[in-house]
Amino acid sequence: MKIIDIVQLIEGKLLTFPNQNINEKEYLKAFACDLMSDCLAYVNVDNCLLITGLANQQALRTAEMLDIDCIIFARGKKLSKEMLELAKENNMTLIATQYTLFEVSGLLYQAGILALKI
């Protein structure tokens, strides 16, 4: 699934995105979690989205270590200026949505995004 379709589906707002090729990448899987320790323990695939309600720098750092370049922030979380700067530095796409983690996950799952096998 491409970023543009994800944003549309979850009525999201694109907060940061790399300048080029934003719609070239196809995301296949997603992991929804507020616990970064678990993300670090279980995410081991490429082309994976992170869906979280944890709006702090650690969410971005965790994603960076896991080669996740797109994070969806659920529950209308507000992100700090520092977070947006850090995301831009690392060419990361951040999307914010009012939907809950459950709703975002359900919508994406219905649209064909798969779960990780852990």
Partner: protein, 138 residues
């Protein structure tokens, strides 16, 4: 090749936490290691870095890169791990509520470092802890 980097890690500094591992990641990508190996190394280094930030009085993260071997060491100044066996058990954590609210403290750190490295050693006393990890570059 023999390259060494050393980073100071400060207790409770959540603003900078992860920046050492981020630099390590960028360097490892530059020298052309496989993404899979880089991921294993930086997951471990980030866990180690967070452990020093969360649990210690402060310390250092060191990485040494040789032609076919990488070693990563975290050294801190205490207060040490009371029971290493328990600390290595998945789900066991002494982290505070504040740390859990930051998304950490699930008791997965040390087990995850062990899982992602080729060798794993840990020593601890009230004066501090040393965690040594290594990977073979194939």
């Amino acid at each position: 090749m023999n390259i060494k980097f050393e980073f100071d890690i400060y207790h409770d500094d959540y603003q900078r936490a992860g920046s050492a591992s981020s630099e390590i990641k960028k360097y490892l990508a530059q020298i052309g290691l496989s993404p899979k190996l880089i991921r294993k190394i930086v997951i471990s280094s980030y866990e180690a870095e967070m452990n020093v930030v969360i649990h210690s009085f402060g310390g250092k993260l060191k990485i040494e890169i040789e032609d076919n071997h990488i070693s990563l060491t975290s050294v801190d100044t205490g207060p040490g791990i009371e029971n290493i066996d328990l600390a290595l058990t998945e789900g066991y954590s002494t982290a505070s509520q504040k740390v859990r609210e930051m998304g950490f403290g699930a008791g997965m750190g040390l087990p995850n470092m062990k899982k992602n490295s080729d060798t794993f050693e840990i020593e601890s006393s009230p004066k501090g802890s040393i965690v040594k990890l290594s990977w073979v570059i194939v």
